[in-house]
């Protein structure tokens, strides 16, 4: 037997489906089976196998008639932050227990319109707050990767940890993620896959449970850059239901991939060389620079002087918005309620029991920084910093076309290793947060292995709405790195 159907790239599967070499139903069944044997990863919180089979049957019909969509018959997984009609949507939180939305998020509706097959909803940090997928009410996700000669469970990163694990573990051909401070790119880097955060406003936020509205952005998580290009093409587009969605034409991302990077000017931001960065990360970065140079790009040192304020400012802006966004989870209309005789007590009990500790921590921080007397010193200041960060990038675009940095300051760590130290956990986002603060598109591409044999990622940040250049450079890095490592499927033995 040749390679299993689950090891296809999305592009390969698409082409084989179109050529009727494989049926959507076979492909879907293979993935349902893979998911069934991957319980140990805890990547899924909702399994929609029946729905997947029905979707696949319909796709086969359409493919038979030759009128399939862009993703016809492609089995995908959906981060459980997206509301899916009549299917439990939990945001990884107990407070949404039992909630089945009577509506479909725009991004997922776009995927179904293009024929994608829904395998299930993936586990995630509660309300997308976390960098390790340990804050989920439904338990942590295990990274499919393990360090060489070490059987300890590692985190997949977060908050889109379930999606990352599902893609890396070949449980789906692609998955949706959302990225508020790095929640697509950091888990992509930790699991050796590609993760793309599009420009803020590129994908609609309608129907996606809000964490920090001015930062949240949906994007694809796949095993190749081409796959991300294809999936983004289906997800993106203007939506009148989201006032912050931008009416910019969605280009043919796939067509941009094979463009030569010759002559592109790539900025290397001095300030991203942070003290204490492990040597292997610095080496990987140098390697990336060398690859792009060899491919004909011009390397330019640039300065983004306000970078060091990005993370602290992010941890004011994001919790502030979250504290308000999460006010609607009050036990009155949907989800979990802890009954009490008195209204105020019901609110307090519902939220005390329904939210996990990381969510509560951020709601408290956010409430604090918006409070009378603190607003100017914290929230307003952070917004000013945010403007300065965006200005740094704008200046950089005068001299370069994109920026190259590492995605994370290190490789995946052990489950439980950093959960008692929120600041250490927050530092995971130090290299990814600036792109969110400026609303810019950024991709993480697997570029090598750490000394322990764990994947590491390189990040490309581009101009607003220039996902094409970001993908093009991502593809160049991917080609040069020729990253073909795959995790050993240890979880199958535990099925």
């Amino acid at each position: 037997m040749s390679a299993p159907l689950t090891s296809f790239t999305l592009a390969e599967a698409r082409d084989k489906l179109a050529a009727r070499e494989v049926s959507a139903q076979e492909l879907t069944d293979a993935h349902i089976e893979a998911i069934a044997s991957a319980g140990a990863l805890n990547a899924f919180v909702v399994d929609t196998a029946d729905r997947a089979r029905a979707d696949a049957a319909r796709s086969d019909e359409r493919l038979g008639k030759g009128d399939g969509g862009m993703l016809e018959g492609i089995p995908v997984a959906i981060k459980d932050l997206f509301c899916t009609e009549d299917i439990a949507s939990t945001a990884g939180s107990r407070i949404l227990a039992g909630f089945r939305p009577p509506y479909e998020a725009t991004v997922t509706a776009n995927l179904w319109r293009e024929g994608a097959v829904m395998l299930g909803k993936t586990n995630m940090d509660e309300f997308a707050m976390g960098s390790s997928n340990e804050t989920s009410y439904y338990g942590p996700v295990c990274n499919p990767w393990r360090a060489t000669g070490d059987n300890r469970d590692l985190v997949p990163g977060g908050s889109s940890g379930g999606s990352a694990a599902a893609v890396a573990g070949e449980l789906c051909l692609g998955a949706t993620g959302t990225d508020t401070g790095g929640s697509i790119r950091q888990p992509a880097a930790f699991t050796g896959i590609v993760g793309l955060k599009p420009t803020y406003g590129r994908c609609s936020r309608w129907g996606t449970v809000a964490f920090a509205s001015s930062l949240d952005q949906a994007g694809p998580m796949t095993r190749t850059v081409q796959d991300s290009a294809i999936m983004l093409g289906a997800m993106a587009g203007h939506d009148q239901k989201d006032s912050t969605s931008v009416d910019v034409a969605v280009p043919d991302y796939e067509a941009a991939l094979e463009r030569s990077v010759k002559g592109l000017r790539i900025g290397i931001p001095t300030e991203y060389r942070i003290d204490g960065t492990p040597q292997e990360i610095a080496d990987l970065w140098d390697q990336g620079i060398a690859w792009l140079k060899e491919a004909g790009a011009e390397i330019v040192e640039v300065s983004l002087p306000h970078t060091k304020y990005a993370l602290p400012a992010y941890y004011i802006v994001a919790p502030a918005e979250a504290s308000s966004n999460l006010a609607r989870y009050d036990g009155v209309r949907y989800g979990f309620r802890e009954d009490r005789d008195d209204l105020t007590e019901m609110y307090e009990a519902t939220r005390a029991v329904g939210f996990g500790s990381e969510v509560k921590r951020r709601v408290l921080i956010g409430t604090y920084v918006l409070s009378a007397g603190y607003y100017d010193a914290y929230y307003l200041r952070a917004q000013k910093v945010r403007t300065l960060i965006a200005d740094d990038f704008k200046k950089a675009w005068d001299s370069v076309d994109a920026l190259l940095t590492p995605t994370t300051p290190g490789a995946a760590f052990g489950i439980g290793e950093k959960s008692d130290d929120p600041v250490a956990m927050y530092l995971n986002d130090i290299l990814t947060v600036p792109a969110n603060m400026a609303g810019l598109p950024a991709i993480s591409v697997p570029a090598g292995l750490s000394a322990q044999g764990l994947p590491l990622g390189l990040q490309v940040v581009g101009r607003a709405f220039d996902e094409e250049t970001v993908l093009q450079l991502g593809r160049a890095l991917e080609r040069a790195a020729a990253f073909d490592h795959r995790p050993t499927p240890w979880w199958r033995d535990q099925a």
């Binding site: 129907g207 809000a210 006032s243 609607r328």
Partner: protein, 487 residues
């Protein structure tokens, strides 16, 4: 009621500012497509956005913005081409989002003015601080179950304009006049129906007292007062409460209070410890509200004539008294009615008919101008019948009563009842002669100098003619035949 309270230690002056919450006239809500009609079954006009379902996002309703701009223009106010929606955060079951979308630091409309028409015909300008758009909350229903509260979200997300005045008002009457004038302007503009009994207009009342000439005192805010009478009463009792405290050597604490119209008192709503910190911040789901001056100009060009301009025109061009003009313009429908009656006729006569007979009859029958049985065209026709001497003014009153009862046209009534005035001097002369003949003694008295008897003769002639004789001809003939008194 007056604006000055004579305390034991001297006079105190009331200082009043109003925040009027006016529901924007629009088919759908401020940020959702749900309907806004009053009186629908509970929770039938609620979109996913209004119910604050996860992942739902607000999208601004352009009509509501246009209505706010229109109102701003009507209040001669600054229109801000750039404004910002903020979230006002607090927990309450009828506030599903856990925040109200409002405008805090940068409202869509800035400073403007409203002219108060005083009883004596004078006018006074009251400053408008700002107008901003915000969402209404839902409604908690406490009386359907002994220990449960029901929530009706039909109002949740309906657009309100909060119109804030400067503390320029000085008496309960002025506050009442301000609200009446505001309602009049909003109705002229068609931006709010002004129905206080349906809750589409409510007021928060800020009251403080001071020694005349002193700086402002500490104010208290009386929330959610829903009639003009209650606003006036609330100011009265709150100002008195404050004076009593101050005269006893106490101090006023800034706080939010409620007016109890049965007990005629105000009560503190919540203590300071529970004071809300609303944690306002710009709503990240919405871009700043921006529009072009050209759009504002377009709206300005489409504004109707407003009560102040109309009043000026009625005085300057139609020759009405400022008082009559003020009465006629207060309600757009009345002013429209009056103008139809007055067009091509003597405006003062038209004004007298409208403010006199018509208002009297409407009042008695508990009807509004829009439900008047007498149309403006028919009232005009009635005035024409007087002007061309078809009927006398006295007969006209009779015809009017008939019109009001039956809704028929005056011409038909006159013809059917044979009320046409007699202007044939021969016919009238015969009656005059007969009357003089029958009252020889009175004729002698008249001629002896008792000139007041002329009225008696006129009355007799009119009686004989069943009111139809032309009074002028009757007068002339009588004078001619009787000669000068004392001759």
């Amino acid at each position: 009621m007056s604006g000055v309270i004579e305390g034991a230690t001297g006079p105190w002056e009331m200082v009043i500012g109003l925040e009027v919450h006016a529901q924007v006239t629009s088919k759908s809500k401020l940020f959702s497509g749900a309907a806004t009609a009053f009186g629908a079954e509970p929770n039938t006009q609620v979109s996913l956005v209004d119910a604050a379902m996860p992942g739902m996002l607000p999208v601004i309703n352009k009509v509501c913005v246009e209505q706010a701009v229109r109102t701003g223009l009507g209040l001669k106010a600054q229109i801000n081409l750039h404004s910002v929606f903020d979230r006002k955060n607090y927990f309450y079951p009828d506030l599903p989002q856990g925040y109200q979308i409002s405008q805090f630091l940068q409202p869509v409309v800035g400073a403007g003015t409203l002219v108060l028409d005083m009883e004596d015909g004078a006018s006074r300008e009251i400053g408008i601080t700002r107008l901003h758009l915000e969402q209404d909350a839902g409604k908690s229903v406490h009386d359907m179950h002994p220990d449960h509260t029901y929530v009706d979200l039909n109002r949740s997300g309906v657009a309100l304009m909060e119109i804030v005045s400067e503390p320029d008002l000085r008496s309960p009457e002025e506050a009442g006049a301000y609200i009446r004038k505001m309602r009049s302007i909003l109705r002229y503009l068609g931006t709010c129906d002004g129905n206080m009994e349906e809750g589409s207009m409510r007021a928060d009342v800020n009251v403080s007292v001071r020694r005349p000439g002193d700086d402002y005192g500490t104010r208290c805010e009386i929330k959610n007062v829903n009639s003009i009478r209650f606003v006036e009463q609330a100011i009265e009792v709150e100002a008195q409460r404050q004076v009593d405290i101050l005269e006893d050597g106490g101090a006023i604490h800034q706080e939010t209070r409620l007016f109890d119209s049965r007990k005629m008192e105000t009560r503190a709503m919540r203590s300071k410890e529970e004071a809300h910190d609303y944690r306002y911040f710009p709503d990240p789901d919405l871009l700043p509200l921006e529009f072009e001056q050209a759009w504002v100009d377009e709206i300005a060009a489409s504004l109707p004539e407003l009560p102040d301009d109309r009043k000026r025109r009625f005085v300057d061009e139609l020759g009405l008294s400022p008082y009559d003009a003020g009465v006629l313009v207060a309600e757009k429908e009345v002013a429209d009615y009056f103008e139809t009656v007055a067009t091509g006729r003597d405006a003062k006569v038209a004004a007298n008919w409208v403010t006199g007979d018509l208002f009297g009859a409407l009042n008695k029958a508990d009807l509004e101008i829009v439900t008047s049985p007498v149309t403006a065209a028919d009232l005009g026709a009635l005035i024409d019948l007087i002007a061309d001497d078809t009927i006398s003014g006295r007969i006209a009153k009779e015809v009017f009563d008939d019109m009001f009862k039956t809704g028929r046209a005056p011409g038909d009534i006159v013809e059917e009842k044979g009320l046409r005035q007699v202007t044939d001097s021969g016919a009238i002369e015969a009656i005059v002669d007969a009357v003089l003949q029958a009252n020889q003694d009175k004729v002698a008295e008249y001629r002896g100098g008792k000139d007041k008897l002329l009225g008696f003769f006129v009355g007799q002639v009119m009686k004989q003619s069943q009111g139809k004789a032309n009074p002028k001809i009757v007068n002339d003939l009588l004078k001619k035949k009787l000669g000068s008194p004392g001759d």
